[in-house]
């Protein structure tokens, strides 16, 4: 006769140090092992989609900042692309390049946060987090040069960006591009050679490719499972078709691969940034678009490869100054789909780590 403990239900969240916001998991534990779980969210719901229905198209840019507040630029980007598709606006060349630069800087910033918090979840006392944030601060300084804000940028507009980069931005970004690879080398070196990190992440939380595709997972989580799928390649937007970069793909689909895919993506982002800074044409940064834009009736869906996955905006216009419907396909929310399959059978400490490796953002999940 074996001893049978009584399973216990524990609420992880909404006020928990490592739920990355106000996410709540009701977990059925048998000792240390996760038996079943039920995610509960909506604690940060602000009704962005409804608010968008009563604002002018340009004003909604500020709403998109509040979705994934770690990389606001990509939200702006996706929304602005959707509006351009809807209203058939052609952005200026320089504006497109600037948008790509901003988006890639944002990707770097977001992946740094993801990696830092992932290591925080592993129990490394904020040390890697602080170093990641140190680099992120430099990216935010660059963003501040571009638009004056550090978190909610509202930098992009239909037709380009709202202002050209100041002249001292270019030497600053060149310096950043020359120094960042060394930091990435250091980070990768420290992460891939630490026995504890390897023991905690290798083979933990394996997400098979078929399950990932069936759950409609996207972004680094999907690529870590071995699926070569990147919106920038399969459906290029702005000027990504003119830039050379590779898509890092994982082989096992475990936490370690998800972490490494993010690290490799940072390198590719640096490559993209180098080319974009080199090739940027002169000209206006923004095509003239009226503030009260009235797109013809119709609908448009535009998606970008945000740091978390496929971020899409579906806009329906009825000819008025604000969209009739604005649907946001938020990657964080959809990446939570396989959570139950991923976590069942793992221990509590693994639950936190696997959850951290998915890299969600509550602002985007709850919208």
């Amino acid at each position: 006769m074996t001893l049978q403990g009584e399973p216990v239900i524990i609420n992880i969240g909404p006020q928990h140090p490592s739920t990355h916001g106000v996410f709540r998991l009701r977990v059925l534990f048998d000792g240390e092992v996760v038996q079943d779980l039920e995610p509960v969210f909506g604690y940060l719901h602000r009704g962005t989609e409804k608010l968008a229905e009563e604002r002018a198209y340009t004003q909604i840019v500020t709403l998109t900042d509040r979705l994934d507040y770690v990389s606001s630029m990509t939200n702006n980007h996706a929304y602005v692309l959707a509006v351009e598709k809807l209203a058939r606006i052609r952005p200026t060349e320089r504006g497109m390049y600037l948008r790509v630069i901003a988006a890639e800087l944002s990707r770097l910033a977001s992946h740094l946060v993801a990696t830092g918090f992932f290591l925080q979840d592993l129990g490394a006392f904020a040390t890697p987090l602080m170093y990641c944030f140190r680099e992120r601060e430099r990216i935010l300084d660059l963003m501040e040069m571009l638009c004056g804000a550090r978190i909610t940028f509202s930098y992009m507009r239909p037709g380009g960006v709202f202002q050209d980069a100041p002249p001292d931005f270019w030497p600053a970004i060149q310096q950043f591009l020359s120094e960042m690879p060394h930091y990435l080398d250091e980070l990768e070196h420290l992460l891939t050679e630490n026995e504890v990190i390897l023991a905690r992440t290798k083979g933990v939380g394996i997400l098979p490719a078929q399950v990932a595709i069936n759950c409609s997972v996207s972004g680094p989580v999907l690529r870590a499972s071995g699926v070569q799928w990147d919106i920038r390649k399969v459906d290029p937007y702005d000027v990504y078709d003119r830039l050379e970069f590779d898509i890092p793909v994982g082989t096992h689909g475990d936490c370690y691969d998800r972490m490494m895919v993010r690290l490799q993506e940072m390198r590719q982002s640096l490559r993209i940034l180098g080319q974009a800074v080199r090739d940027i044409p002169s000209g206006p940064a923004r095509a003239p678009v009226p503030f009260f834009l009235r797109p013809p009736p119709g609908e448009a869906y535009a998606h970008v490869e945000s740091p978390k996955g496929e971020l899409g905006f579906y806009l329906v216009s009825d000819g008025g100054i604000s969209p009739y419907r604005c649907k946001i396909r938020s990657p964080s929310f959809i990446n939570l789909t396989p959570l139950r399959e991923l976590l069942r059978g793992w221990k509590m400490a693994d639950l936190i780590v696997i959850f951290g490796s998915i890299d969600i953002n509550m602002g985007e999940v709850d919208r």
Binding site: V8, I10, H16, P17, S18, G31, E32, L119, Q120, D121, L122, G123, A124, F125, A126, T127, M130, Y131, R134, N194, E195, V196, I197, L198, A199, R200, K202, G203, I206, P208, A209, I213, S225, G226, V227, Q228, W229, V234, D235, V249, G250, T251, H252, G253, D254, Y256, K347, M348, A349, D350, L351, I352
Partner: protein, 402 residues
């Protein structure tokens, strides 16, 4: 004055002073007061060092993490721990509903008590100690066992599920790690030929750190686990179970748990300095020569060295999972401690009265064994930690799949 005090100069000096001050019929009181004075010194010294440890840890963690650390209260933030303590004392003391009040209040006290009990046998300077127990090492092991119970009681009595998690983990982990801890000490005892800490210090012609590299590694790792510092801080794991067993404690009760942790680091470091680094002895001037610095200062410096080591480890490493922690105790530390014990035992059997040359021979042998163990165990651990073969078939999606 009994003969058992003839060695203990600090006791003798205090006693002589008090005996001169007090009137003749009160001679017995001088005895009592002398002992009391040393206890007072020890307890307050531990408390002060624990406060200093809070400061040092926060400050050094700040430095490790490329930030400043506390620097507002007093010069360089030195008064920060005192500000913390005052804040904790002024805070409301909440007893959660559903808690077992008696155990809930007893746990922090039980947690902090062993800290002061241990210091009784530590020689903190030349001929300075409270008690020269002939079973000092055994006493240490026995006293440190109390904190396991305190942690379990605290977690259980709180009535919180997270605390229960912490308590369950604590019991599993602490009991497992006591075994290698004790086994690592046995090697030292064999070499020193005595369980008394005073004699262990005097027996170290070479620091035991050189003679017992494996023993030191096992002792350090096991001590880290006993004090629940990273990489073994499972029962406090703030990214998983928030604070573990002391999640519901507020005010000074929480402060006592913190004191137990930080004071534990200080006391353990003092122990390691005693056991592995010749305690209070000056490392540069041979015994019997005139000393430049007082022996107490040397002891403090060596203690701080180990404190720094603890903080360094804490700033650097992530946490292990519960099964890995238990595996580390039973699969790695246990065999290492046993190997160390066997090798040391054979050496002591070969050379019961080692000359200096033979001691150096022991050093060479032990380090060779440690190196071999390092190679063997790292290969084994690598094999245990292997990922399952690639379960993922790369999928290439073409653009038409959209």
């Amino acid at each position: 004055m009994g003969p058992w005090l003839a060695q203990n100069s600090i006791y003798r000096n205090i006693y002589a002073f008090l005996d001169g001050v007090l009137p003749a019929p009160l001679g017995w009181l001088a005895y009592f007061l002398a002992g009391f004075t040393i206890m007072f010194l020890l307890i307050n010294g531990v408390l002060l060092l624990a406060a200093g440890m809070v400061y040092a840890e926060r400050r050094l963690l700040g430095r490790f993490q490329a930030r400043l650390g506390p620097n507002r209260v007093g010069p360089f933030g030195i008064l920060q721990p005192f500000a913390d303590i005052i804040k904790l004392i002024l805070k409301e003391d909440v007893v959660p509903r559903g808690a077992d009040v008696l155990l809930f209040t007893a746990a922090p006290v039980m947690m902090a008590a062993p800290l002061f009990l241990i210091t009784a046998v530590i020689p903190f300077g030349q001929n300075s100690y409270l008690a020269n127990l002939n079973i000092g090492v055994l006493y240490l092991v026995a006293v440190t066992g109390i904190s396991t119970l305190a942690i379990f009681l605290g977690g259980w009595a709180t009535g919180n599920k997270y605390a229960m998690f912490g308590a369950m983990r604590a019991v599993a982990q602490l009991i497992s790690y006591e075994v290698p801890l004790v086994l690592a000490l046995v090697g030292l005892v064999l070499l020193a030929g005595s369980l008394s800490l005073v004699q262990v210090v005097e027996a170290q012609r070479l620091p035991f750190l050189l003679l017992q590299p494996l023993g030191f590694f096992v002792f350090f790792a096991a001590t880290s686990a006993e004090l629940n510092r990273t990489p073994f801080d499972l029962m406090e794991a703030e990214s998983e179970i928030i604070a573990g067993y002391h999640i519901e404690y507020t005010g000074m009760r929480f402060g006592l748990f913190q004191l137990a942790e930080f004071g534990g680091v200080v006391v353990s470091s003092a122990l390691m300095a005693t056991l592995f680094l010749r305690g209070w002895e000056n490392p540069f001037v041979p015994q019997g020569w005139p000393q430049v610095l007082p022996s107490h200062l040397w002891f403090l410096l060596k203690t701080l060295l180990f404190v720094f080591l603890f903080i360094w480890v804490r700033a650097t490493w992530p946490r292990l999972r519960i099964d890995q922690v238990m595996g580390f105790a039973w699969k790695v530390l246990m065999p290492l401690a046993l190997i160390n014990l066997v090798v040391t035992g054979m050496e002591v059997w070969l050379w019961p009265q080692p000359t200096t040359a033979q001691l150096w021979g022991m050093v060479v042998i032990n380090w060779a064994v440690a190196g071999a163990c390092l190679v063997v165990f790292s290969t084994l651990m690598e094999r245990w930690g292997k990922r399952p073969t690639a379960s993922v078939v790369p999928v290439r999606l073409s653009a038409e799949v959209r």
